[in-house]
Symmetry: none
Subunit: 479 residues, 2 copies
């Protein structure tokens, strides 16, 4: 019943219990926490455990069977279907007649403010962003081009040239990325880059290696491509690489600068093993460098891409964290061999992205305002990190903050035996947003350490102090 | 010390001496000019040699040790680390296999102005767009929300709620579309809606029916899903539908308001045959209503979606043509059964689109500025259409302009036997952009009529007159 402890039904919600249960079971299956062939508890047992009526469970199982998620053998036991988590199947199997005037639970989320609350990870402080400057540059770009920025731009599938050129300069100088401007592809967030790369590079059943714990948006992209996913554990040197002598994956996805979410940096030895050891024939490497700009002590290790002689490393990044998330501008630096097919697929997926923001960002890079903004953020975030660390140390909290050389988050590892999800849930009840480390885990999570992922960049020192006091008050141990 | 003579520190640079020294030592190692196991000068010697403080050298060595480049034995001498040889091998490989510096042909297109030239189809006149009003609404949205628009918005996968609500109102009122706000999904252009739908609804080998001639962006989306494509001819009643008695396609794609690019409107009889006749079991219908707003005479026929009782019609549209193309905002109105899976796939493909433009558009709809703009465009475009028709008639050109009740384009059918691509090429040489009708044809084109597709909306009456004169001068017959 272990995994079913994750089920949590909210009796105060307007969403019916059966809908809640259905959605949560679907999610467990889609996340791979319930895998094909696995047995579900009997309706009687689950009903008792969740303190709901047995019929609610029976109807939920029936619905999930009809939707193809579950399977029932000999009318006794219910299993996760062999074909279950495949998203496309859900769509194809959808019955058209099921019209209702209530939105599905997953889309009924209210609007309200979406300002992050402490300590949501990976959130920049949007109040630091020089919005007036940005707007001035935007207006200037519109004025000086006599509105030509408003036109359709058939040459902009991978982004407008000015932005790609200025970004290439930045990446060469700051991260040693080796590239020409036309290898830089602008995408809708880095998520789109990962999706497009998964579609281009992976056939069904191809093997991909991905970090665990890791960025789940990437895992979803591999899954959508039908790939077979192998999880790399993460230790003190970063991701534990596959044995290339016995294994030839198609794609390896890493976050070398600061592993997400643990924060450990991939050691130089592993970087070299990766770029030199991965089999020549077929292996691509995606280096997701989502926040290397925020390093407060030493300079970062060389990017994988800069170490790679074989043209096999694809470097991806985002402006969501440097500027503001709602901008949704990410990028990939593509090996020469991938430029054309990436462009073709991007043109089918959405033709091209919005132009005015790209022109504004190009000017923002060009005038140096970008660099000034990064420097300012780096200074402020370093202070906030110190404020956070000071509070945690003063409170003698049982959190081991192993990796603290930079980034936007600090992962506090919990003593063995503590259930990080339960702690995270208690903090949520107290008004904090501190994800459990294991919430970034796909597949098995038996042997993985628990922890809490604290983002500190979006909050003033005062809010950080208050937040840490709340953590101290709630406590981490008595779960 | 020979190799260390290569070190050169620039005292006038804004880059700190320590950073300069660090970078240059790294480079020596990466280039293989310093190899594994080699001893570095003592900090005292190197400092004397470079005339810098000894601490600068000590700190530099410390940093390179921590980054794995150097190694220190018995606290006396500093060596190049064992892992380093790989570095220079990688670097040498890079120069050896030096990547091509020329972009692939398909990506080398120059920037330059992308303002459309007569008579490029489907281009709005961006000079008519009330940009100042748009910018005011944008600034107001940013101001009144205290920058919360800049945050990541996990509830905005299908667009922000205000926009979906206002758009639902518009579509209900103007096109009779039956929908709740949460069935409206905002996409990056309507192209993304078509791509996502193709991925959701089609498995490889599923049969899709699509118009021929027709919108080739749609055909590419079906092809990317591996579907088997059947082409529907287009006659005076619009697309010629499949025989549902003998055929059960998975998806039918039509542009009923004005077939693209011929301009013919799907007859009411065929509309009814489509929504009532398509087999219940599996058939989805996409109604791409890309420019029904621009109808200058009669009111448009009811949308397919409004006629459909079975929840099988997916209605798609775009703001590219109503506002400006670079905005890249499109939408789909989804049957209830598709909302969740569309949202899931969209979240994998690009998480969500940019937010500020969406908030601005929501306000633009809300204030009524949108409606005023449409009315203005309709008036101006109607005049331009008249100017175009007048010119063509006066010039006695052999063009049969069959469908002239609205839209942004007029298709002139050519006399049988004329090669429309050759004519289009002659016009291109004369400085005009008039695509051949058969350039919108996929698959066989043996029995299809030739023609020219003239867009008239982006050009002043004066430019239209000049353009028509050029057509008359070039002539259409002597190919």
């Amino acid at each position: 019943m272990g995994r079913f402890k994750l089920l949590f039904l909210d009796r105060n919600s307007s969403v019916p219990l059966q809908t809640q249960l259905t959605n949560q079971l679907k999610e467990l299956i889609q996340r791979g926490q319930l895998t094909a062939g696995e047995t579900l508890p009997s309706s009687r047992d689950l009903a008792t455990d969740l303190r709901i009526s047995r019929n609610t469970v029976v109807y939920t199982y029936d619905r999930l069977i009809s939707e193809g998620y579950l399977h029932s053998r000999m009318r006794s036991r219910v299993y996760v279907a062999e074909t279950a988590p495949e998203l496309h199947r859900a769509a194809r199997g959808a019955t058209r007649k099921r019209q209702s005037v209530r939105p599905p639970a997953s889309v009924s989320r209210a609007g309200g403010s979406n300002a992050p609350i402490p300590f949501r990870p990976c959130q920049p402080d949007v109040q630091l962003f020089p919005l007036e400057m940005w707007n001035r540059l935007r207006n200037r770009a519109l004025r000086t081009t006599d509105r030509s920025l408003l036109h359709y731009n058939s040459a902009a599938t991978l982004g407008i040239r000015e932005l790609r050129e200025n970004l290439a300069i930045y990446l060469r100088e700051s991260r040693g990325v080796k590239c020409e401007w036309w290898q830089v592809a602008i995408t809708t967030g880095s998520q789109q880059a990962l999706y497009l790369l998964a579609q281009l590079l992976l056939k069904p059943e191809d093997r991909v290696y991905t970090e665990n714990p890791g960025y789940q948006g990437a895992v979803r992209a591999w899954r959508a491509a039908g790939a077979q996913i192998n999880y790399m554990a993460v230790d003190g040197e970063g991701a534990v690489l596959p044995h290339f002598a016995v294994d030839t994956p198609k794609l390896i996805y890493v976050t070398p600068s600061r592993q997400f979410p643990t924060g450990v940096s991939l050691s130089l030895a592993r970087r070299l093993a990766l770029v030199n050891g991965a089999p020549d024939s077929c292996c691509w490497i995606i280096e997701d460098d989502y926040d290397s700009e925020f390093r407060y002590d030493a300079a970062p290790l060389p990017s994988l891409q800069s170490l790679d002689a074989g043209g096999r490393v694809i470097y991806t990044g985002t402006f969501s964290k440097l500027l503001f998330p709602a901008l949704r501008l990410g990028y990939a630096v593509l090996p020469v061999a991938l430029v054309e097919c990436f462009q073709t697929l991007k043109s089918i997926v959405d033709d091209h992205g919005p132009i005015i923001d790209q022109a504004t960002l190009a000017a923002f890079l060009d005038t140096g305002a970008f660099y000034a903004h990064i420097r300012r953020c780096r200074r402020v975030y370093a202070e906030r990190q110190q404020a956070f660390l000071y509070g945690i140390q003063k409170g003698s909290l049982p959190l081991e903050l192993r990796y603290r050389d930079g980034g936007m988050n600090l992962t506090g590892f919990l003593p063995r035996g503590l259930n990080d999800r339960a702690v995270s849930e208690r903090l949520r009840m107290a008004g904090l947003d501190v994800p459990a480390l294991t919430s970034y885990v796909a597949g098995e999570q038996e042997h993985l350490e628990g922890g809490l992922v604290f983002g500190f960049t979006a909050f003033t020192e005062e809010r950080i102090r208050q937040g840490v006091e709340t953590v101290i008050r709630v406590g981490l141990l008595d779960s």
